[in-house]
């Protein structure tokens, strides 16, 4: 198992738990219990039941015929956009809230950027009748108002964060601070494969249902056990981690991670972490992150609020360093072009994040008989304002 986390919480050179002492006991407890809980019959039964009856799994693996014709290959879309709340995020929040309950926690906190993870967390808190506080940068609160209202309607308290650059990384800082101040009763539901060990592994396991389903569905559709390519966007990297999980040890499956290049990797306004980042520690994890020479963390930029995170999960840093995954990037323009193309060819409006994965189709030379799976991580409802702004340019 070359690409799984080791007993110290590292993926190769990345990961660990760089936490203040005040969180030590909480993280230790989680570390000692998460596998036991996830592997227990009672958890598996309830988790699978909710994924099926509440989330709407399995999500289809859709053979995209017209898209395949365009690229002269065989493209399958993993339709995470069809889940309840509209993105893969809920696979993780359902799992983590069950773990929180098993640990006897009564209060849930979360961070959110665009609001997708916040909505997914508020949703499962409503489902379980648990108190929920979501930290969201003040700037994001203002530009993602529909998601803020959804969270509020679901009963969550949305706390606007005014520290730092008032976006996702600062919301994460503030959630960590809340956790330090309420360690006894509070469980922190992190939204991606980031944060201190065991979070990256825990979130990857909860998202691994994506590749578990791909395996079965691909066999049914094509008779093949595995695809030639899996393409997914990477901000923190949770949908990619889930889509890769059951294929990562099989090196014949090419993994293509797509980062957000914003206005271009050299423009100064980008979120292409593997190109622009250096090894450092962000949110308690040693990984690649965008920073100044002096070690101050830089605020990244992307048109997609779900990809403008200054780091990447340690699992992805490891896949990048070992060259197990190929990391490409797509600019705002390329992502928008891909979004309008998919809408036109297949009648599916993708999330801006997923559009970055779709944009990579332009950058790879496929064979006619290749099987290509693209993780369509979310739907575009939340991005309509952006799409409408550009509709005349791209339609």
């Amino acid at each position: 198992m070359k690409y799984q986390v080791d007993e110290r919480g590292y993926y190769g050179n990345f990961g660990g738990a760089y936490i203040p002492e005040l969180l030590f006991k909480n993280i230790e407890t989680l570390k000692d219990n998460y596998l036991k809980i996830i592997e227990s019959d009672s958890f598996q039964k309830e988790y699978k039941r909710l994924l099926q009856q509440y989330v709407g799994r399995p999500t289809p693996l859709y053979p995209a015929k017209r898209l395949s014709e365009k690229y002269n290959t065989n493209i399958f879309l993993k339709r995470e956009d069809l889940t309840h709340t509209g993105a893969h995020k809920i696979n993780n929040t359902i799992g983590q809230i069950l773990i929180a309950k098993a640990l006897g926690k009564t209060r849930i906190i979360a961070e959110t950027g665009a609001g997708q993870h916040g909505v997914a967390t508020a949703t499962v808190c409503a489902l379980m009748g648990m108190e929920c506080v979501v930290y969201m940068g003040k700037i994001d609160v203002e530009r993602q108002m529909p998601n803020v209202r959804k969270m509020q309607m679901l009963g969550a308290k949305v706390e606007p964060v005014i520290s730092g650059s008032m976006t996702l990384k600062d919301a994460t800082n503030e959630a960590i601070r809340d956790w330090i101040n309420n360690a006894e009763n509070t469980f922190y539901i992190i939204g991606s494969v980031v944060g201190p060990h065991p979070y990256p592994d825990m979130v990857a396991r909860l998202q691994s249902v994506i590749s578990e389903e791909i395996k079965v569905q691909l066999k049914e559709l094509t008779g093949k056990d595995k695809p030639d390519y899996i393409i997914a966007c990477v901000g923190g990297g949770s949908n990619a981690a889930g889509a890769y999980y059951h294929f990562v040890e099989d090196e014949s499956v090419k993994l293509i991670s797509v980062e957000a290049a914003g206005h271009g990797v050299d423009s100064g306004e980008s979120a292409a972490t593997t190109v622009l980042g250096k090894v450092g520690v962000i949110h308690s994890s040693k990984t690649l992150l965008m920073q100044t020479d002096d070690g101050q963390i830089i605020e990244p930029y992307s048109i997609s609020a779900g990809l403008d995170y200054p780091g990447i999960g340690p699992f992805h840093a490891h896949l990048f360093e070992t060259k197990r995954a190929t990391v490409l990037n797509a600019t705002d323009k390329e992502a928008l072009t891909a979004a309008f193309m998919l809408t036109k060819l297949e009648g599916i409006i993708p999330a801006l994040e997923s559009s970055h994965a779709l944009a990579a189709l332009e950058k790879i030379k496929f064979q006619k008989d290749d099987v290509v799976v693209v993780s369509l991580s979310g739907r575009g409802d939340k991005d309509m304002e952006t799409y409408l702004k550009y509709i005349d340019t791209y339609k």
Partner: protein
Amino acid sequence: MNRINALFQKKKKDILSIYFTAGHPKLNQTAVIIKELEASGVDLIEVGMPFSDPVADGLVIQQSSAKALENGMTVNLLFEQLESIRKEVSIPLILMGYYNPIMQYGVERFIEKCSNIGIDGVIIPDLPLFEYKLHYKEIFDKHNIKCIFLVGPDTTDERVREIDNSSDSFIYVVSSSATTGIKTGFSDSQISYFARIAAFKLKNPILIGFGISDNSTYSKACEYANGAIIGSAFVKAVSADPNVHTSVTKFISAIKGK
């Protein structure tokens, strides 16, 4: 002998340690603040190195860090400002900052630089004990720089012992499960936690920090420990009064109740 060890050998009670953020409120006051603190009778100084993402800190230190970075503070500049500090003061000096900027500077290079300048100890709140022992203890020991660790109310007895065994300076006892500058005054459960730690009879002296802001909390902490650490309250005081001499003197005499 390391100045921190020398201090605790000589003085067992009522030790006062003050934290301030370098580069705040003004960029070039680091040496001035240190000199004033020494002159006012403080025993130990923690110089905070600002970081963009200080997760263990409350609003006051977050804001002072943001301001310091905005003013242009960097690790390099701080070392420049402290280059000749040992010609001016003899008080033990500790640098306190998050791991990432130190990692980017290079841990060994950082520790060597501390040693050359005459810094005595370092506090890195997000460097786990496990990583320290595995990678860095040898470097710290070689240069006689002390690494100071924190314990909190949830730290188990066994871990308190482990931290004590791995330390050779003092233990930073965090008064409550909170970020800095959040709570003021001590509850009964905090007092019994202080008593629990005191009863360990650790080989290292202990200083209590977080939530100490006035004479009454300082005196209370000193009943259960060798002394106390003040951060946020002092940071607030120096930002309120542009005259460093008066703000430091006034603040310290109020803490000491003189």
